[in-house]
């Protein structure tokens, strides 16, 4: 009997040991899974998302630009970026325009299928406040102290920013409000200011205008990815008119972008390569372009939701794990080593004392006064002495 019990005991003991090893193996496996999942947290390196959406044209016949911007706003809000992190600039009010047969609506699809104006649109810069100066101030953060928070881009060095611009443009410029324009050089410099002040981690720039690719040609700051709806020399075309409203409702590129984004949900894993394929030439008539050379990560590892959504990954676990903060997929490119190693600090505001006692700096050397006059008098005297006084009357 004791031997039987002993045999059973050893049998049970073996089963228990096997079960124990299996369990241990499984937990260690799941811990490893969780670790790999947790390492995904640090893939992109950003912790918050911002969006700056700009529509630069006014007047009723530019209805489609407002509809463009509002459709991107809608997608961005749906994917999780809150209004406090969106700066929406609309140069004209189409919803309440006198000519709108359906007041308080802005439609993006004909037959009034989709009202992108919705019930909770928060426009931060409206009407004549949309100017080049205000746009650049928003980007660089140089706003007067009285500016409310909703009008500020309060991003930090861990923010991914989406910048979407639409309107009328040309080779190297974008027209604001029929009276001014922003050039690609200005925009590139504004982005460099943002980089210097560490106002973004990564930036996605989308532009839907005629010859839009010219606007991203001059970028030189790191971590910028840019998309445009048409190349230099091409026009971006509008999509479809609605006969009841009497205007074109959307531009082609943004229309297909909206259709693409409607399929994206907060957990979607689509990456930037899918975004580059939006609106090929057969649908858009113009050739969309993109630029990724300044971006450090590989586009196919960049999720759409990295820029369009504000995703918080939450996984509940009871196990402990080791997190290695250097476990990123960044490819190190030698951009500018100074920027990484030197200690960054904000430029001092000019102290009052220096304003009062400041001397004008003389950069160029000019000869003392009267020197030129004396030189010319000497030359003329010698001339007349050599050639005679009779030439004097020809001078005067």
């Amino acid at each position: 009997m004791a031997s039987f019990v002993g045999v059973q005991f050893t049998f049970c003991f073996r089963i228990i040991v096997i079960l124990f090893f299996l369990h241990f193996y499984r937990t260690s496996l799941s811990a490893h899974e969780i670790e790999t999942q947790a390492s995904h947290f640090f893939r992109s390196g950003h912790t918050n998302n911002w969006a700056v959406l700009v529509c630069t044209s006014r007047f009723w016949f530019n209805y489609r630009h407002v509809a463009n911007t509002l459709s991107v706003y809608r997608s961005v809000k749906r994917l999780g970026i809150p209004d406090s992190h969106i700066v929406l600039m609309l140069a004209d009010d189409m919803a309440c325009n006198h000519r709108n047969p359906k007041p308080a609506t802005v439609f993006s699809h004909k037959n009034m299928e989709l009202n992108v104006y919705g019930d909770d649109v928060e426009v931060d810069y409206r009407g004549y406040e949309v100017t080049v100066e205000n746009f650049l101030r928003v980007l660089t953060g140089r706003l007067p102290a009285s500016t409310p928070r909703s009008k500020r881009l309060l991003s930090d060095d861990r923010s991914n920013i989406l910048i979407y611009m639409t309107g009328h443009g040309g080779n190297g410029f974008l027209k604001f409000q029929d009276s001014e324009e922003i050039t690609n050089v200005e925009l590139a410099d504004a982005f460099e200011q943002m980089w210097q002040k560490r106002r973004y981690n990564e930036l996605l720039f989308i532009i839907d205008t005629c010859q839009g690719a010219s606007m991203y040609e001059r970028f030189y700051s790191p971590n910028i990815m840019a998309l445009a709806s048409s190349q230099v020399g091409e026009d971006s075309l509008s999509h479809q008119p609605d006969l009841a409203i009497g205007v074109h409702l959307m531009d082609r590129y943004t229309f297909y972008l909206l259709e693409f984004l409607e399929d994206i949900h907060p957990a979607s894993q689509s990456n930037m390569n899918d975004l580059f394929k939006v609106c090929p030439k057969s649908q858009c008539v113009s050739t969309p372009g993109h630029r990724t050379d300044l971006f450090q990560r590989n586009p196919n590892s960049v999720l759409i939701t990295d820029f369009f959504g504000s995703v918080r990954k939450v996984e509940i676990t009871m196990s402990t794990m080791k997190l290695n903060p250097n476990n990123t997929e960044r490819t190190e490119i030698d951009v500018n080593e100074e920027m990484v190693t030197t200690l960054q600090h904000y430029v001092d505001q000019l102290p009052v004392a220096e304003i009062i006692h400041q001397k004008p700096k003389q950069k160029d050397w000019h000869p003392p006064d009267g020197f030129i006059l004396g030189l010319w008098t000497l030359i003329i005297l010698i001339f007349f002495q050599t050639y005679g006084i009779k030439h004097l009357k020809h001078v005067f």
Partner: protein, 505 residues
């Protein structure tokens, strides 16, 4: 040295001008005429296009279906009109008010210079009735106008009916950004001028009118309707206005664009468009159309009620429905759709019409000739005058040297030269003022009517003018006459060229 300061070159040039003067003049004349006639040839013209971006293309949805309502309104209007014997002011005011418009009336009166032919009276009295449809959400700063005139007899009833039906339909829409004025004016041009003068608060023609009570802001565009039949076969657009002024070409283009969209037959000068521009009949058809337009412009008479708007910088056209013996007829609903489409597009305007041409000729509705293309033809004709003047100048500067050995008459004195010119100007002034001044007197003492008196006075002045050459020949004498006449011709031809030179730039 310069071309003209070098004596050798100068002599060569002047010889050229004098020797080849006649051939050059003839050539200029032929070139000018050929150029003008060639303008009607289709490859030399440009296709019309919409210049105003705000108006966009014809992408609207027209929903007007109340053609039968328009016809019933027109029957009521004609009935009331017969009863009252003029414009049925009260009925019209009541109907417009019931449709939701703000109704205002304006009475006017004018003493005519010549009595009315049919009624032999001087005083014309009338009333204009207009209703303003206020834009539901817009400020009252701009407006567009639709008018139909209540002319003599029983014309134009359907236009008034359609106007009322459109007014009731437009009242139900919320997309109007401008006020719409619906005007029914009496006595055609006189009533329209009275309304315009009172609206813009000027007094140019001496019409007395009651003060204007209701205004709707600056008028951006106006359309005048003339429809005298229940169904029409084609729609004619009339552009020539007062003193030959034309509306902006964009308004005509808008009309044609909607004609094409709806599929209505549209004409200009009453002529249909032809496709065979390379055949002689096709070319002569467009030449005919263009020359008719030139003729109507030159008459200075506004061909429709719209012609009076142009002076106030309001672009306007008249749309005339024509009922001929064609088979396919268009009913009032189609006409209403066209006007609705035009008004919806005019609603989208942000500024007055200014993008397209103001001076043009239309050989057909799809082709136009702008002033830059037809003005060179006229400048060639003026070049002849300049060449003649040059020729005379050269001759005058040459003759004293040639006739050195003969007895030198003193050159024509300034007084003797000035006398014929002075007499000519006096004649002109007499022709301008005397007929009107003598009109009254003549009818009192002579058994003639006023119009005949004017004509007789003019004839009398012409007959007196026949004696002019004889008198001036007696005033001037001697060899200086030859020089003098040349000088005269020179002086009189140069002022003729000068205005053309200024207008050419």
């Amino acid at each position: 040295m310069g071309l003209l300061s070098d004596p050798n070159r100068r002599r060569a040039l002047t010889n050229l001008v004098t020797r080849l003067n006649t051939p050059l003049c003839v050539m200029c004349y032929i070139v000018g005429i050929t150029w003008f006639l060639g303008l009607a040839f289709e490859p030399f013209t440009l296709r019309t296009y919409m210049s105003e971006n705000a108006m966009g293309s014809t992408m609207v949805e027209e929903k007007f279906v109340y053609g039968d309502r328009a016809l019933s309104y027109s029957r009521e209007f004609s009935g009331h009109r017969k009863k009252v014997g003029g414009l049925p002011v009260d009925w019209l005011g009541k109907t417009m008010k019931s449709r939701g418009l703000e109704v205002y009336k304006q009475t006017f009166s004018r003493t005519l210079p010549f009595p009315d032919e049919s009624k032999e009276r001087y005083m014309v009295k009338g009333t204009n009735v207009y209703g303003i449809l206020r834009a539901p959400r817009a400020p009252r700063t701009e407006s567009i106008l639709l008018s139909a005139t209540c002319s003599e007899g029983s014309n134009n009833n359907q236009a008034v009916g359609l106007l009322l039906a459109l007014a009731s339909y437009f009242r139900g829409q919320i997309y109007w950004a401008k006020d719409i004025i619906f005007l029914v004016n009496e006595h055609d041009l006189i009533g329209m001028e009275a309304w315009l003068e009172a609206y813009h608060d000027v007094n140019m023609t001496g019409i007395q009118s009651s003060p204007m009570q209701g205004r709707a802001g600056a008028i951006q565009a106006a359309v005048s309707l003339e429809l005298s039949s229940d169904v029409i076969t084609s729609f004619d657009v009339v552009v020539e206005g007062l003193n030959g002024q034309l509306p902006n070409l964009d308004l005509v283009n808008l009309f044609y664009a909607f004609c094409q969209k709806i599929g209505m037959l549209c004409t200009i000068q009453g002529k249909l468009q032809r496709n065979d521009w390379d055949t002689l009949p096709g070319y002569s058809h467009s030449l005919n159309t263009m020359l008719l337009m030139v003729l109507k412009q030159s008459s200075g008479r506004p061909q429709g009620d719209h012609g009076l708007f142009l002076r106030y910088h309001v672009e306007a056209v008249t749309l005339r429905g024509i009922n001929s013996f064609r088979q396919y007829k268009f009913d009032m609903s189609t006409v209403g759709k066209l006007i609705e489409g035009m008004f919806r597009k005019l609603n989208n305007l942000l500024e007055r019409f200014h993008q397209s041409y103001f001076f043009y000729l239309l050989p057909s509705l799809t082709r136009f000739v702008s002033i830059g293309y037809y003005m060179p033809a006229f400048s060639f004709l003026i070049l002849i005058l300049m060449l003649r003047a040059l020729d005379l100048w050269v001759q005058l500067s040459n003759t004293p040297r040639v006739q050195d050995d003969e007895e030198q008459d003193p050159g024509p004195s300034m007084l003797s030269l000035a006398t014929p010119i002075f007499i000519c100007h006096l004649t002109g002034l007499a022709l301008y003022f005397l007929p009107i001044l003598s009109q009254d007197m003549a009818t009192q003492h002579f058994p003639v009517s006023e119009t005949e008196a004017v004509v007789f006075t003019a004839i009398a002045i012409y007959v007196a003018g026949l004696a002019l050459p004889h008198n001036t020949h007696r005033a001037l004498s001697g060899n200086g006459t030859e020089c003098g006449w040349k000088f005269e011709t020179l002086i009189s031809s140069v002022p003729c060229c000068a205005p053309w030179l200024y207008s050419a730039d």
